[in-house]
């Protein structure tokens, strides 16, 4: 897997759990989704996406107030959109250079 494909896969995984949570709500995140988010957060941390890993963990943390978890979720979703946009821009520029 090339670095680009690896980044695309990372962003795709991010989008998938965000979409799941958007559908069911942070108050009703199922066990399977929580595991998936935890795995993704581990990977994010390894890749240096420290803040995004922390946000993801806050979304699934059982103890915190729901409003704070929802706040962390919307922030994570917004950062995902920024990352996707940045990725598309870089990809477009590479296509042009090629």
């Amino acid at each position: 897997m090339t670095p680009h494909e690896s980044l695309d896969a990372f962003i795709d995984d991010w989008r998938q759990w965000v979409t799941n949570v958007l559908h069911v709500g942070v108050a009703h995140v199922g066990r399977r989704t929580a595991v998936r988010v935890e795995d993704w957060a581990d990977r994010a941390e390894t890749l240096g996406w420290i803040e995004d890993a922390a946000l993801a963990r806050r979304v699934i943390s059982g103890g915190g107030p729901l409003t704070e978890r929802a706040d962390a979720f919307v922030t994570s979703l917004s950062r995902l959109e920024l990352a996707s946009t940045l990725r598309s821009t870089v990809s477009n520029q590479q296509e042009v250079q090629e």
Partner: protein, 529 residues
């Protein structure tokens, strides 16, 4: 630019700045004698005063020549211009007609201004502006931008509202000069400062907070738990946000509620999360008072703030049928301002669930504009009295409005109104003529297609990249087929520009193919030469 439009800018003050008072007085006197021979057409004029030949071969002072021995401006040329100004029909432009032009100083791209002014002159002006802080007094009127530049000696620069940089005059008498450069730099500074004036009020902050709370509550229980009361709350908040002069947040909130309530498989649509992200990031910046962009741009501008204009000359450019995901269907007839190339559209729409027997294709077939079937108005020219225009280019006709068919415009002159693909940029780039933001925007753009449009499976559209960040895209096969048939002949596209996945895309509505203006939508018949 038309000759009569330029002549309409030639006030006595303007001519005095170009020449001097004495030359204008002598020129008027000479013109009043009626001794000289005089001839004119739409492209220029010639005259013979005092035995010398004067010619105007086009539009602008640089197109003037006189065979008399004087170097530069002479009273013979003044006599020619005064005669033209007083005799050519249409050159006595009413103030109101000029006032609806934004002025090239607002609409021209930075590149265009640099090109017209000269990079050397601009650099020199920038250096003087930064080092000496010269006093530049600016005054915008209905007909011109007047700048008084105090350098070593005071100089007056006049920029006509309906003209371009070439039509500007300076009391230093040079064709291009640092006074012009200083005036434009000072103006851009003023415009940038005025954009920052908008500040957010406590009421707006409170409302934005309530809207953010609504979003948080929806995120807690998710899309599956959206109920009618939740939707009604969003609708009420969106209305209040709009009334509180924060239309961008209102639009995004409405979009979030609509797309989430559709309960479609959100895995197939990125629209809800894009709208949520835009709403969240924008309102976070506004609420925290740390705006990365001008506050007014984040708050937004009301689309429907219509203002009346006494008279407007338009050329028809095409029409299209459309439908929105929120259930509206309708049609739009597209026009360009004949002088400035500004796009306007006249639309009619209904909510499909309440439309009864009304259908957009049928309504478009029977709609008329100035007595002309609306679907056939491409290439026709119209004069609209009492036109109501909104900032985002919508045209509305009311009880006191009237439309008159005035003729036809040839296609090559329509192409002259087109902008370059490089003039289209995302909205952060304020100095570009077409700044594309969250809402789509129409424009006529010069385009060369190097190959056929190709089908992109990912976006399910036929696409063609025409610049590094600009892509022609259509989801209509018949439009792609029509363009592909003659792709080598495409000179310009009338299109709607929008942002999708960090790319500026243009959706074609009409095309200029060779010398023919071709409406591309399937329900629009006819073409004009």
């Amino acid at each position: 630019m038309k000759l009569e439009t330029w002549l309409a800018t030639l006030s006595d003050d303007y001519l005095t700045t170009w020449g001097n008072k004495g030359q204008l007085r002598r020129g008027k006197k000479l013109a009043a004698t009626g001794d000289g021979e005089f001839a004119s057409d739409q492209h220029g004029a010639s005259a013979q005063f005092d035995g010398f030949l004067q010619r105007l071969d086009g539009v602008g002072f640089e197109k003037l020549t006189c065979t008399c021995p004087a170097a530069g401006v002479c009273h013979h040329l003044m006599a020619l211009l005064v005669t033209l100004r007083d005799t050519v029909p249409g050159s006595q432009l009413p103030v109101d007609a000029a006032s609806h032009h934004a002025g090239f100083w607002r609409t021209a791209s930075a590149e265009t201004l640099v090109e017209q002014l000269g990079r050397g002159v601009l650099n020199q002006s920038l250096a003087i502006y930064a080092k000496d802080h010269p006093s530049v007094r600016l005054q915008e009127s209905a007909t011109e931008l007047l700048a008084c530049v105090e350098l070593d000696t005071p100089h007056t620069v006049r920029f006509p509202r309906t003209g371009t940089m070439d039509m500007s005059v300076c009391s230093c008498k040079r064709a291009t000069c640092v006074h012009r450069g200083l005036a434009l730099i000072a103006l851009r500074d003023d415009l940038a400062a005025s954009r920052e004036i908008a500040s957010i009020t406590e009421d707006q902050v409170e409302l934005l907070g309530l809207a953010r709370d609504w979003l948080i509550s929806v995120m807690i229980d998710g899309q599956v738990a959206i109920t009618d009361p939740v939707m009604q709350r969003a609708t009420a908040l969106a209305r209040e946000l709009r009334q509180a002069d924060t239309p961008n947040a209102a639009t995004d909130l409405g979009r979030i509620a609509r797309t989430l309530a559709m309960r479609q498989d959100i895995l197939t649509s990125s629209e809800p999360s894009e709208a949520i992200a835009r709403f969240w990031l924008t309102t976070t910046a506004l609420v925290n008072d740390r705006t990365p962009r001008p506050t007014r741009e984040l708050l937004g501008q009301h689309k429907r703030d219509y203002r009346r204009h006494d008279t407007l000359d338009l050329v028809g450019i095409g029409s299209e049928l459309w439908a929105t995901p929120s259930g509206y269907e309708g049609f739009s007839i597209h026009f360009l301002d004949e002088t400035t190339g500004t796009p306007y559209s006249l639309s009619e729409a209904r909510n499909a669930s309440h439309a009864g027997s009304w259908r957009a294709p049928h309504a478009l077939r029977h709609a008329a504009f100035g007595g002309q079937p609306a679907a056939r108005c491409a290439g026709s020219t119209f004069n609209v009295r009492n036109a109501w225009l909104s900032p985002d280019g919508r045209l509305s006709l009311r009880d006191d409005s009237s439309v008159r068919l005035t003729g036809e415009r040839n296609t090559s002159s329509i192409v002259q109104l087109a902008i370059s693909p490089n003039d289209i940029r995302p909205s952060a780039h304020h100095h570009f003529p077409v700044s594309v933001g969250p809402s789509p925007i129409a424009c006529l753009v010069r385009v060369r297609l190097s190959h056929r449009l190709e089908f992109d499976r990912f976006s399910a559209k036929w696409t063609h990249r025409i610049a590094s960040s600009l892509v022609v895209a259509t989801d209509k096969r018949d439009i792609a087929d029509r363009l592909n048939l003659d792709y080598r002949s495409v000179q310009a596209l009338y299109c709607v520009a929008y942002i999708e996945r960090a790319q500026t895309r243009i959706r074609p509505i009409s095309a200029v193919l060779s010398d023919t203006l071709v409406p591309l939508t399937h329900d629009t018949i006819g073409a004009t030469r």
